[in-house]
Amino acid sequence: MSVDPDPILEVEGLNKHFEVNSGIVNDLRTRFTGAEKDYVHAVDGVDFELYPGEAMGIAGESGCGKTTTAMTLAKLHQPTSGTIRFRGEDITDLEGAELTKFRQNVQMIFQDPFESLNPRMTVYDTLAEPLQIHDVPNKRARVARALEFAELQPAEQYLDSYPNELSGGERQRIAIARAIVLDPDFIIADEPVSMLDVSLRAGVLSLLERMTKEFGLSIVYISHDLSLLRHMCDRIAIMYMGRIVEIGTTEQIIDDPKHPYTQALINAVPVPDPTTGRERVELEGEVGDAVHVPSGCRFRNRCPEIIPPEELSIDQRTFRGAMSLRARVDRGFDAESYWERTGGDGRSEPEEFTEILREEFVLGEPSRENREVLEEAIDLLAEGQTERAGDLLRERFHSVCERVDPVAEERLDVADDRRVACHLYEPNEGERGVDEPTAGESAPADD
């Protein structure tokens, strides 16, 4: 764990945005119309630090930006903005010879050993190549040592093999040997065992564990498998839509998650034991649109604990129903699809229309006032007065979660050193407001 107080890696405000539709036609279109280009906010404001000898996990759903973060750390992507410091030195904009020198210190292990090894290179060539690039002497001895460490013995037997002659487990061990042959300071492992058969996983995992211990390496594991991260990591960061929503020690994150998203994620992990049940947090919908990111908290559309205004007395289900009706209206209410569902001819069944909407959006046990507002809005929708319905809903149902972007920071009422980005907990300092550049550029979008 963090023996040395100086971090080996410091990441601050890291952003990586990818342009959408960057083809020539679109380029011309935006040039002539002056329209703004769209960007996928793959990594959008990530801060963390990695200490020497530490194993850190980054977890999250597909598309949360965990792999992009990893690639940016290894400088396989140039960050859009933000800084990465390695041993105190800013490496964000390194180029040429300096970049090559930095790369000697960082290695990656990829998910698929069938794709990450060049099929035309022998094992020796694969391992000797980085040594050649960095002009390291004693190639043969170093290659043999790396192979032996990766439990590929006797090493001579493997030197002239091609990847297609090896099993998946052996290939991943070659990939590990390649990662350590330069004696790097930190390693990034992106889903290192997810492509391997069960019987081989445990072996590769214990090799990785041994590797970090013996060489005192720092390692970043990227995985959606929390059982695996719990087993391998000292600290875990949970990512959602390009942001870290919670970061803390493995015990803090797994045993006592604070962020509603972390809670949902941990409860979703299946347990290989039919006798212990697990509590399931209902988490519907999918990760939202990373192009038009929602204002405020990015998780709010799926959050089971979205915060109602203080003056409003309302249960969570009713509030969520109201908020999703509001989002539906803000996004441009598609009345036609509801009229179609009435089964009537055109608009002949207004009662059926309001009934369908009520069933979908008036949930929980609304108080009389809340029910009245909701039903009035639905009546307005039936009359085609979408804008007025929107105003009515916005006036009563709104949330701090959509207005203010929560910062991942230590919270006063979370009594430990973890960082949580959620309004449910007392902030330390000021929060970022709606004027923050990435927020508020689009109407609040629902899933």
Binding site: E61, S62, E151, Q153, P154, S167, D197, V198, S199, L200, R201, A202, G203, V204, L205, S206, H224, D225, L226, S227, L228, R230, H231, T250, I254, A264, L265, I266, N267, A268, V269, P270, V271, P272, D273, P274, T275, T276, R280, L283, E284, E286, S337, R341
Partner: protein, 345 residues
Amino acid sequence: MSVLEVRDLEVHYETDGEPVRAVDGLSFTIEEGQNLGIVGESGCGKSTLAKAILGILPKNGFINAGEIRFKGEDLTEMSDKKRRSYMWDEISMIPQSAMNALDPVYTVREQIVESIEEHRRGVEKARANETVDELFDLVGLDPARADDYPHQFSGGMRQRAMIAMSLSLDPALILADEPTTALDVIMQDQILKRIGTIQDEINSSMMVITHDVSVVAETCDRVLVMYAGKLAEIGPVEEIFETPYHPYTVGLKRAFPNIQQPDQNLISMPGYPPDLAPPPTGCRFAARCPLATETCFEEAPPAVRTGNLETRCHHTDRVDSELRPYAGELRVWERTEAGREVSGT
């Protein structure tokens, strides 16, 4: 009557040399409304078994001997035409990769309606459409989305659409081949939950093929552990997980990290499954088994009953005292023939 009864099934693959005996004398049954999980590592024959049941073995594969009885009728004896009429109608499947299973040029609704119309001649279009809406509700998708094309769905939604499709004709048996392997944890959880709901609402039986023991723990009543084409152990899911008696099952259980037991040692059993062309004599697990004796290498293991478990092993009586307490220690597994080979001693 059992929904599915497999008796002494042998499936072979032709090769240039000896045929590969991928499934070798397998027998089991699935009762109505029951979910059976089939677990084993790559190459143990679990996918071959599914293909044999569905009648979609590759060209060089054939059923050498044995029976596959579906509601009493032997599928292996059936004419191709009759058998085809059974597919989807009585036996459907949820494939591993829904990405490739849906046709990209038709809407999801068109594809499901087509399969209903194909098997239920004369069914009204409106009725078929209603079925689609009901099924979408059941698997937790908005029926309005049925008119979308597969590319408009996320991976998890496509997998749920495939589940809806597999249920469209109310089949008696559903084969799910690694139904959640390609999905991330939130999607996996939603699919597992749906499988649970379906079990409660529809009386279909299910055969879930997977390498992930936690998926089996959450969806199945009974588990069959396969090793090198043979049944190693079969029984109720609780007993398989709590007190397995086959050394292979004991080791397999140790190969998975459990989020609720952070300190459990992970064990990788040294060695690989044997070559099946031809298979070795005796117990096929012997070379990797800490309890193996000379007998194990010579004689096929007997079927031994302990509680509700059926285990193919010569030494089930030694598991409790000699293996279970030490199963978390790697050196125990290194003392096997395969282990000695790996460490070069």
